[in-house]
């Protein structure tokens, strides 16, 4: 029963992918688009080999992942404490919530010109932009989660004589973890979108720059290679973070 379910869960998506490649081939054959604007599937396979052999695909991938990790990591490390603080202190919430909401709704891409002016092209600009994409959502979600921790847990903490720091580490943080993990998954996805856009405009390397470079060289086959890699890595990041929801001390938040 389980085995046939597994085969089905692989076979069905695979069939869809094959159908898409078939449609792609048919459109290419039909000549609706000029060959220079529409690569053949086989060209893309060759392009992939070329990119892989030169090692450029790999270094671009590492560059982009490094930038996302830095920006995202920095946002999580600063955003969760800020969110906790705003969740616990009503004064802080009243003071900062409007401005956090403002930046949350301001597209990080609008910062690109300033990012280039301040940090130039290199690692710093994309990291700055990714930080902006992740920081505000993480703050808001942590704040909402920690303000909504059931008061019964505070009573229990008091009953068992917990100090404030103990309560923070052993009650508040674990209580908000399921919601925080959900936000991390959504936010990491956004960061992966932003890094490509940032590198397209303000980069000299990375997957986003490779997309732009392929466009400039009219290498549509390479363009598709980059697109496929970007999409697959995005799925991989989400799958990786999804593993967090399987940690027993977090899993309770996703039950029932």
């Amino acid at each position: 029963m389980r085995k046939s379910g597994f085969i089905r869960s692989v076979a069905l998506p695979l069939a869809v992918v094959c159908a898409m490649i078939l449609v792609w081939t048919l459109v290419w054959r039909s000549g609706v688009f000029h060959p220079s604007a529409f690569p053949a599937p086989l060209d893309v396979v060759r392009g992939f080999g070329e990119e892989a052999r030169s090692g450029r695909l790999f270094t671009d991938l590492i560059t982009s992942l490094f930038r996302v990790s830095c920006g995202f990591g920095l946002a999580v490390l600063t955003g969760i404490p800020t969110g906790l603080w705003m969740g616990q202190k009503e004064m802080a919430r009243t003071a900062f919530l409007p401005i956090v909401n403002f930046f949350r709704n301001l597209s990080p891409l609008a910062w690109i010109p300033f990012a280039i002016l301040w940090f130039g092209v290199g690692d710093a600009s994309p990291i700055f932009l990714i930080f902006l994409s992740a920081f505000f959502p993480v703050v808001l979600s942590t704040m909402a989660a920690s303000a909504n921790v059931p008061t019964i847990y505070s009573r229990v903490a008091k009953d068992f004589g917990m100090s404030d720091s103990e309560k923070l580490m052993r009650v508040t943080l674990p209580a908000i973890m399921p919601q925080v993990v959900t936000t991390l998954r959504v936010t990491a996805g956004v960061c992966w979108l932003v890094v490509v856009a940032a590198e397209m405009i303000a980069g000299r390397d990375g997957l986003g720059f490779a997309v732009m470079d392929a466009r400039n060289g009219l290498r549509t086959d390479i363009l598709v290679v980059e697109m496929i890699v970007i999409g697959l890595v995005g799925v991989g990041i989400d799958r990786g973070l999804q593993q967090l929801t399987k940690i027993p001390s977090i899993r309770w938040g996703y039950e029932k």
């Binding site: 059931p150 847990y153 009573r155 229990v156 068992f160 674990p174 973890m177 027993p248 309770w252």
Partner: protein, 246 residues
């Protein structure tokens, strides 16, 4: 007998202009099981929050000697901790790891949940969860047990079973107990003394003592007699021909 572990002297509590408790004086003696019943919304939970020290009275004095632990209606366990970890919360003062593990094991045996030490609360039934909460409150050095309608979220048969469990567990681990409940049968079956509160603002309407030792059957004459008496106090006794749903 030493000083009583729990004393309320002329305790009142208001929320703004809403007077919830008026001039309550209650003394609970060592090892006593006191049940407090009253119409719903009469301030039973407010009273428990005062007894546990979570809130302070508007006027009057509460004196508590020893540690108190509360068992909540439901969802009082930490869902991110296993059964063992939840129970071990009450044992944080025990420095030796091996001692602590042994005491957790003993509690698991006491509540008959051996084999569930690594389960999480959401994997247990409602009755099992309440047993774990009871174990958490009893583990270690607590003196006073405060029960806030601990079985009200359970079905009737499970509730009957839980009362037997409480009787049995208290024989092994005697505590001073205050039970707040709207389940009159539960109060009469478990308590040495039942205090009936009036409607808000709550005052003591009457008190009665039960001498029969636990465990008691719900059909024991003294229990039945007490139930009848409480119902009369609350104006819901059927012989009076009067029904109130307040």
């Amino acid at each position: 007998m030493t000083i009583s572990p729990l004393q309320l002297r002329h305790v009142s509590r208001s929320y703004g202009s809403l007077e919830v408790l008026r001039d309550l004086s209650i003394e609970v003696s060592h090892g006593e099981f006191v049940a407090i019943v009253g119409p719903s919304g009469c301030g039973k939970t407010t009273l428990l929050n005062l007894l546990s020290g979570f809130n302070q009275p508007t006027s009057g004095v509460i004196e508590r000697t020893g540690k108190s632990r509360m068992v909540h209606q439901q969802d009082g366990l930490f869902p991110w901790q296993t059964v063992s970890e939840n129970i071990a919360m009450g044992l944080r003062h025990v420095k030796n790891k091996e001692d602590r593990r042994q005491q957790v094991e003993e509690m698991l045996r006491l509540i008959r949940l051996e084999g569930f030490e690594n389960s999480y609360p959401h994997q247990l039934s409602g009755g099992m969860r309440q047993r774990v909460e009871l174990a958490r409150a009893l583990a270690g050095d607590s003196d006073i047990l405060l029960l806030d309608e601990p079985f009200s979220s359970l079905d009737y048969l499970t509730r009957l079973r839980m009362r037997q469990e409480v009787s049995r567990i208290l024989q092994e681990r005697p505590r001073t107990v205050v039970l707040v409940t709207h389940d009159i049968e539960e109060a009469a079956q478990l308590a040495n003394r039942v205090i009936v509160l009036s409607e808000r603002p709550a005052q003591i309407r009457s008190e009665m003592s039960l001498a029969t030792p636990r465990p008691r059957d719900p059909t024991h004459p003294e229990v039945v007699q007490a139930i009848r008496q409480i119902l009369t106090e609350l104006n819901v006794e059927s012989d009076s021909g009067e029904y109130e749903t307040a």
